[in-house]
């Protein structure tokens, strides 16, 4: 499978010589979902942000669909890549219709096309357009806002979705709903997804590959099954930390994830 995103020897240093990313190489197949795990400060978000050039690496290169991103204008690159973050970042002064259609508006698409597309997408993410199109972000619940954030990321029909802890701020039930919806959506649309998460269950449920970072270094790049079966002390420690109740829970969580699949 041709990689949709390829990182080659990627490093990112901040002034006092600290490496936030340390020589990372990864190839993400088209249509795959890759979860990046790791503790806070391990470089997950920085890694994600090199893909749409919100962060410029110190050395190494990023390729998107075979093209070096350093050679693409950041504006056109970003319009081809969907971006979802935890706080959603919906614009408080725009209703959902305008929020979702904003990328198309920036691209100079006509009003009727924007409205049609944003209504379609709101329906797709489970927000009935006739009810929600005219609402403002502050009139929504956290889960609804997250759905709208996802709709906005899909507006320009990007091949790639970058998701930075998209469901991190939601209660467990809403989070599970959102995970189900995303999984269903990704089953229907062919998107390459890079998902930063703290939630091991979420990673096992959604991803077909799991990457573990520590201090900017790539510690593991495995399938979910390989990940939970791994005897690597680093990975075992991570899984144990996630499931404090009973060491056998790691197996149980993998089974759970399998069942939800």
């Amino acid at each position: 499978m041709k990689p949709a995103i390829e990182l080659r020897g990627l490093s990112f240093a901040v002034p006092p010589g600290r490496l936030l990313l340390d020589n990372i190489s990864l190839a993400l197949g088209e249509g795959s979902t890759t979860a990046i795990l790791g503790r806070s400060g391990s470089g997950k978000t920085t890694l994600l942000r090199t893909v749409n050039r919100l962060v410029e690496p110190t050395s190494g290169e990023v390729l998107v669909l075979g093209e070096r991103v350093a050679n693409v204008s950041p504006i056109s690159l970003r319009r081809r890549i969907g971006y979802v973050i935890q706080e959603t970042g919906l614009f408080p002064h725009f209703n959902l219709e305008r929020n979702v259609g904003l990328v198309l508006e920036a691209m100079g698409r006509g009003r009727s096309e924007r409205i049609r597309r944003s209504h379609d997408l709101l329906n797709t993410v489970g927000l009935a357009a006739e009810t929600f199109a005219q609402r403002f972000p502050h009139q929504l619940s956290g889960g609804q806002r997250q759905r709208a954030g996802l709709a906005r990321a899909l507006a320009a029909n990007p091949d790639i979705l970058l998701m930075d802890e998209p469901f991190g701020a939601l209660d467990p039930l809403t989070r599970a709903e959102m995970q189900d919806m995303l999984k269903d959506l990704l089953g229907r649309m062919k998107k390459t997804v890079l998902l930063v998460t703290h939630d091991l269950d979420e990673a096992l449920f959604l991803a077909d590959r799991i990457v573990l970072l520590r201090d900017g270094k790539l510690m593991a790049d495995l399938s979910p099954q390989e990940f939970v079966d791994s005897r690597e002390p680093e990975i075992e420690a991570y899984i144990r930390a996630f499931h404090r109740i009973g060491a056998e829970a790691s197996g149980a969580s993998a089974r759970q994830a399998e069942m939800r699949r």
Partner: protein, 216 residues
């Protein structure tokens, strides 16, 4: 007697009010055209913010009578008193507009600016679609403060012969005629109130919908 006073001075009050309005309006226009772009520029180069806002602050501290006096001997400017008045009033209006434009944009949640960038908005689109609408209430507050200040200070412009309602006040003081003082002062105060109200309405019209809803 009051009606006699009105028939005698009514026309003059009207003319001077219009003159007053013209001085203030021209100064506000110049100040806005200078201070809003400057304020936006400072958000791009925050290191300059302190010295530039500091300079505007210094201008603000110059006593207005002294300011008019300083400008009087200057070539070209000194030829027409209205030019001096407009320049001085512009200087006084800069600070509130500049400071509020800068503060208003800086107060925007950085996440939103990052998202604007991540969505692929150009710098111009980010300014027009995100930053200015979200900072609008701050900027309008600055415009209102500047307008009210300018209308007050414009009364002093009469001291250099620039006209405006100050002329009645100065004449009233010189001839110890309180009616003349009030004939200048009351319209000036009403003008300030009216301008503030008008800008307030304009602000509501411009205001971003979520804020309008929250302030209901």
């Amino acid at each position: 007697m009051t009606s006699g006073f009105l028939t005698q001075y009514g026309g003059q009050v009207a003319t001077l009010t219009i003159e007053h309005l013209w001085l203030t309006g021209a100064a506000m226009l110049f100040a806005t055209l200078i201070a809003v772009p400057c304020g936006i520029g400072l958000t791009r180069r925050p290191r300059w913010a302190k010295p530039v806002i500091g300079l505007a602050n210094v201008l603000q501290t110059i006593p207005s009578l002294a300011m008019f006096g300083f400008l009087l001997p200057l070539p070209w400017l000194g030829d027409r008193a209205a030019r001096i008045a407009i320049l001085a009033l512009t200087a006084y209006a800069l600070l509130p507009i500049l400071r509020n434009t800068y503060a208003g944009i800086r107060a925007i949640d950085p996440t939103l600016l990052e998202v604007a960038q991540a969505l692929g908005l150009t710098d111009g689109q980010r300014l027009l679609k995100v930053e200015l609408p979200l900072a609008a209430s701050f900027i309008f507050a600055g415009l209102r403060t500047a307008t009210v200040t300018c209308i007050g200070i414009a009364t002093i412009a009469a001291a250099v012969g620039a006209g405006g309602l100050g002329e009645l006040i100065f004449r009233g003081v010189a001839s110890v005629d309180n009616r003349l003082v009030l004939a200048g002062a009351i319209p000036a105060a009403l003008l300030a109130l009216a301008a503030d109200t008008a800008l307030g309405l304009l602000e509501r019209w411009f205001m971003v919908p979520h804020a309008r809803e929250l302030s209901r």
